[in-house]
Symmetry: C2
Subunit: 353 residues, 2 copies
């Protein structure tokens, strides 16, 4: 049970959330606690859909903002329960993103009269396949619940505004050949040797750097998997190279796909997975007000996040959270207490003004 | 039961052996039939070791030869029972190598007074890992059973003498890198991209052609498997390329390993498997007599065969069988009836002279 004292302290609240294990698929206990805490706040109306918990104010403000965070973590790596040491809290999910979820829950519980109407949104299964992602499911089943003029996703950004996100696309580039017995290799065509040209293209590729709204997006094109071969005595007739292309928000998915295909004219290219980029969306009034309070220049988000789901729903969204993105998913994951306090103060100054 | 009539006809005998399914590991029923047939010949003394069946004459001849063949086949591919069509017998094992085993069994049953003492040797598990190979097991447990002045392995050679064999070596060449999130790929080093240099070396490699005793051995160096990758969003830190080197009999295994290592000075090279080449061994008197009867120039055996086990035991050995080596292991495997009859006649002329 999250007491009023814990809800009033975002650092204690972070520890409390971290100490309820909630690896993707196992969020129910944590969602129960979050729901109970929100139901204790008379200014919020609360809904639960599976392990998605929503709490909204209805103050009749002209604008609505969303504060959103996921409740799940990657698998525990011997790093629970949490452990405090100086300015650090160590543990699974401290950075990604229970410290961020704690900020949203802390504000939900303690800011009774925000200057915008607010939807607080806690969801499950962000760390696994998109089909299970609670925000994705909600966007499909209750799209009206995402409706807002602006959204902040409390993913780890180390206290900076990380705006928009790059798109990500996976493609399989296939080199083909002809099987033969390895003792008579000249009767075949070696597909793995042929795939060398794919690697040469990848190695020589110069990724773009694109600046939008003052945010610089650095692209990347990389082989992430390779496989080929039939048996130890057979010239292989197929070699598959899986490629991941991270592209700046000035490209649509279709443009990104055409770009990848154009790089490998001599090979079969199959696009296997794709998620759009999100423009930074910093030109709106609420975004500018928020940037003023943060007082730091915005940066590009490197990596795909659920801000793209808000962008796809027509809601400008950015990432802002206390965790360090470079520590996400690592056994040594931790968060700085001072970043939690600073983040809470920033959000309060903006929301309660 | 193999009747005297069937044993007297190498074509009928081939069909009879083919129609007893004997995929590696399942040779017992066929070995039983072979053993019973051999025990029916009063001039032979017969032994059974597992599914290895041995039959020997003891006529006090000054020299002994071995006729050897394996009883197992690769997995059936909808090609049993056998089917005759014109000059062809279709079916699993027709070429590799029940037609060859049939010749040995036919001669064992019908040549009571060969000019050399003969050991007829039928063994199991040639088509699977070397540890299970019946000839290999026999060489370890009863090395004296292989003792001879000359050996013929009735592997498919399409009626030609294929002498010696190439060595075969497998090595894993590993490219390493540094993991990073694919959204921040510049923080990592992509091992799959790095492996492109391995493919470039393989693609540019000029294999040797080596002639010994009139037999020309054509080498080959090929990637046979490749693997690498951690996850769809991670820059991979390892890419493994498995290479198969087929080398001519003028190179020892140690020389072959040094050659492979020398090609990839910038990568880790691990030799994972190795089998020596066998010199053609055509300079002995019995080999020359046999070549005279065949009346065709010898060729190099392309591919590793168990002749190397005889060579390692100090017994000159060559391959000679009616099957077509290019049909081995294929669903459309078949053997020409005329090749079976010609092979039987050649062996009889040599052995019964």
């Amino acid at each position: 049970m999250l007491s009023p004292e814990i809800l009033a302290d975002p650092v204690e609240l972070t520890r409390a959330l971290v100490d309820v294990e909630s690896v993707s698929g196992n969020e129910a206990a944590l969602a129960d606690q979050v729901e109970a805490a929100l139901r204790g706040a008379p200014h919020l109306s609360v809904e639960r859909h599976g392990n998605v918990v929503l709490a909204s104010t209805a103050l009749g403000r002209p604008q609505r903002v969303v504060l959103a965070g996921h409740l799940d973590t990657v698998p525990v790596a011997g790093n629970l329960p949490s452990r405090a040491e100086g300015d650090l809290i160590h543990g699974c999910g401290t950075s990604d993103m229970k410290s961020g979820a704690a900020l949203a829950l802390h504000l939900a519980a303690t800011v009774a009269e925000p200057r915008y109407d607010v939807t607080y949104l806690f969801y499950d299964c962000e760390e696994v396949e998109a089909e299970r992602n609670g925000l994705n499911v909600l966007a499909r089943t209750h799209p009206d619940k995402l409706a807002a003029d602006f959204a902040i996703l409390l993913e780890p950004t180390y206290g900076l505004v990380e705006a928009g996100c790059q798109g990500t696309m996976r493609a399989v580039v296939t080199a083909t050949g002809q099987r033969a017995h390895a003792a008579r290799s000249w009767l075949g065509v070696n597909a793995i040797h042929a795939a060398g040209a794919i690697m040469t293209t990848l190695g020589a590729y110069q990724p773009r750097t694109v600046t939008i709204d003052g945010c610089t997006y650095r692209e990347g094109l990389n082989a992430v998997r390779i496989s080929g071969g039939v048996a130890g005595n057979v010239i292989p007739d197929e070699c598959r190279v899986e490629i991941n292309y991270r592209f700046a928000p000035d490209r649509t998915e279709a443009e990104a796909a055409a770009h990848v295909r154009g790089l490998f004219p001599d090979f079969e290219v199959e696009i296997t997975d794709s998620a759009p980029a999100a423009m930074p969306g910093l030109d709106g009034a609420i975004a500018k007000e928020f940037l003023d309070v943060v007082g730091q220049p915005p940066q590009a988000k490197l990596g795909w996040t659920d801000v793209a789901r808000f962008a796809a729903a027509g809601v400008p969204a950015l990432n802002f959270g206390p965790g360090d993105p470079n520590l996400a998913h690592k056994p040594e994951e931790h968060v700085e207490i001072s970043k939690i306090r600073a983040g809470a103060a920033t959000l309060r100054r903006w929301l309660a003004a």
